[in-house]
Amino acid sequence: MSKHTTRSGISLKQVYTPGDLQGLDYDKHLSNPGSYPYTRGRRSGAGVGWIQRELSGEGEPSRSNEQLKYLIEKGQMGIDVIGDSPTMACLDPDHPFAVNAIGTQGVSLCCLQDYRELYKDLPLESISVSNSIPPAFAIAGLYLVAKENNIPAEKLRGSVVQAPFYCEDCGYSMHMPFPLRLRFTTDSIEFCSKEMPRFHSFLEDTYYISEAGLDVVEEMALGFIEMRHVIRALLARGLDIDTFAPRIAILLNCSMDFFEEIAKIRATRRLFAKMMKEDFGAKDPRSLAVVIASHTSGLSLTAQQPFNNIVRGTVQTLALVLSGVQALEISAFDEAYRTPSPQSHLVGLRTQQVIDLETNVIKVADPLGGSYFVESLTDQVEKRIWDKVMEIEGLGDPAELSDKGWFKKFFDNAMERYAREIKNGDTKKVGLNIHQIPEHEDTLLKEGVEEKIEPCWDRIQKIKAFKEKRDQDKIKEVLNQVYEKTKSEGENVMFPILKATETGATMGEIAGMMRLAYGFPYDPHGVIESPPGKGI
């Protein structure tokens, strides 16, 4: 950042003065926290704090359950679980492509029994349960386990990531056509708006897309593009905006440009409120005040001198807390070379707790509100995000842009740009392209570098045996229902998914039948046959 600009290229002055706030109307642009347009926060008052959690998930479900209990015991207030790469791609662990990836980058989940083990003895009625797992399946798993434990679905809190636009381009390919991905999203949101009204079934995830190296303007512009498209699709079904809008949340990234990240969050709240009111006619105040969760940037971390990552996580967390987010998690300091160790999880949690309990920063809401600099930057970031949204929507239907690979190219360009900035030193990374030290000196916190998580090969036999033991006729029947109801546009796919899951069908089988219903191959890799269902 040798130029005098923010990371996204906004020119910075040496100093900001009252002159930079000319035209600022307090009631119209800021207002008090908890009041429209919610620039200063979605709730009135201070001291509410945030849900402190760490992203977790590793190995088989029972191992992840232990991990969750460890974190809760250490003070974690909510859970956030991510699936391993086969789970994220809707493939069962017995798929030949899954073998060496089972449980190494997240938890392996494919059937109801897995969710039972994952959530065993957890207080589902009182803790918020967030998921980065294919949405319809994550919801089905949570809903069914709660039901078995006599926990009313309307009590469930938490969120699930909806990523219909960009998952195929950003490392979470499910090998499904866009209309089917959108169907997953809209059906699961509609289902939750009725059955799980406290659950944030529409978590817009701009975190993982911005890890391609997007700047804050690009990150939020693409997030708004996706939200607007999904909202329009839900309205087109005849849903009232206020039935689902209160349960929209955004999971965003927080990188190292401290004030720009703060401005991004304040601008996002204001843009969201205006959009919901003016473009979509929302009336319920809860529909206007978006919940913001955040994950600190994994991309900003380095494998060199990993102790610097603790500092990075702390600075980013402070930015988020000063912005008034509702939940946050810190990318573990060892993330550059492994999935988080228990030690790095603890460092993340303790960082949050120190900021919460020792610094007093949460005692005043929006403490930076009114700053000449912060307000001016918030305005500029807001304008740039919205200009970008209009520019992209002006290019045509975003669904078509997605099909044509326009977004893929956008991400590729961002990745190249980021790599170039690191290489030529425009973006400084202490320990990586400046202030390096020889490898033999770089030993602090590097004990875990060579530790590996072995794939859970046991799962393959276990799942195969489970599949064989089922009542095959019943499985065939429920999978056929999945196929038929997915083919029929008027049906909500959540119901056949719930029925199939409850009966013992797996995610891989259900997803395969849904691909077939949309004219795609059952197995995207062409190596397994369709199960005892629709033999097409």
Binding site: S85, P86, A89, L91, P96, F97, A98, V99, N100, A101, T104, Q105, G171, Y172, S173, A303, Y337, D412, M415, E416, A419, E439, V449, E450, K452, I453, P455, H525
Partner: protein, 134 residues
């Protein structure tokens, strides 16, 4: 002299494609011919493509730990077919310890995240000559 033919692929469920694309471009710019196998390959598929395309070098981009198992499997398959096509491995997750293990098993060269373009190209040019099928 014929152009060096490099097969570039990613293994298993690893979905990180940026490195593979960047390296492919780099090799093409250096005058090599790239056969791009893309994502989602198992060792047997890489072997088959190597045979069909007559690749001189196999380049594997690794950003998940799956390569720890797939690369030795591919080495075994090449041995079974009595093919001496060299394997070059590069990626963000490769630690110094992994690099030692892989070269010990017969991988021709290993590049970590900080490898320079010139170094990679020179190495591939050097080892390509040694890879004689049959």
């Amino acid at each position: 002299m014929d152009k060096i033919r490099v097969l570039i692929g990613i293994l298993g469920m690893d979905q990180h494609e940026v490195g593979a694309i960047a390296v492919s471009r780099m090799f093409r710019d250096a005058g090599m011919e790239v056969i791009y196998a893309g994502r989602f390959n198992l060792p047997a598929m890489i072997l088959q493509m190597t045979l069909e395309e007559g690749a001189d070098v196999i380049g594997l981009s690794c950003h998940s730990w799956e390569y720890l198992y797939y690369v030795p499997e591919l080495l075994e398959l090449l041995k079974e077919k009595k093919l001496s096509v060299p394997i070059v491995v590069g990626g963000s997750v490769i630690t110094p310890g992994d690099a030692d293990v892989l070269t010990g098993k017969g991988v021709a060269a290993v590049f970590g995240p900080s490898a320079e373009a010139d170094e990679i190209i020179e190495t591939v040019k050097r080892i390509a000559g040694k890879g004689i099928a049959g």
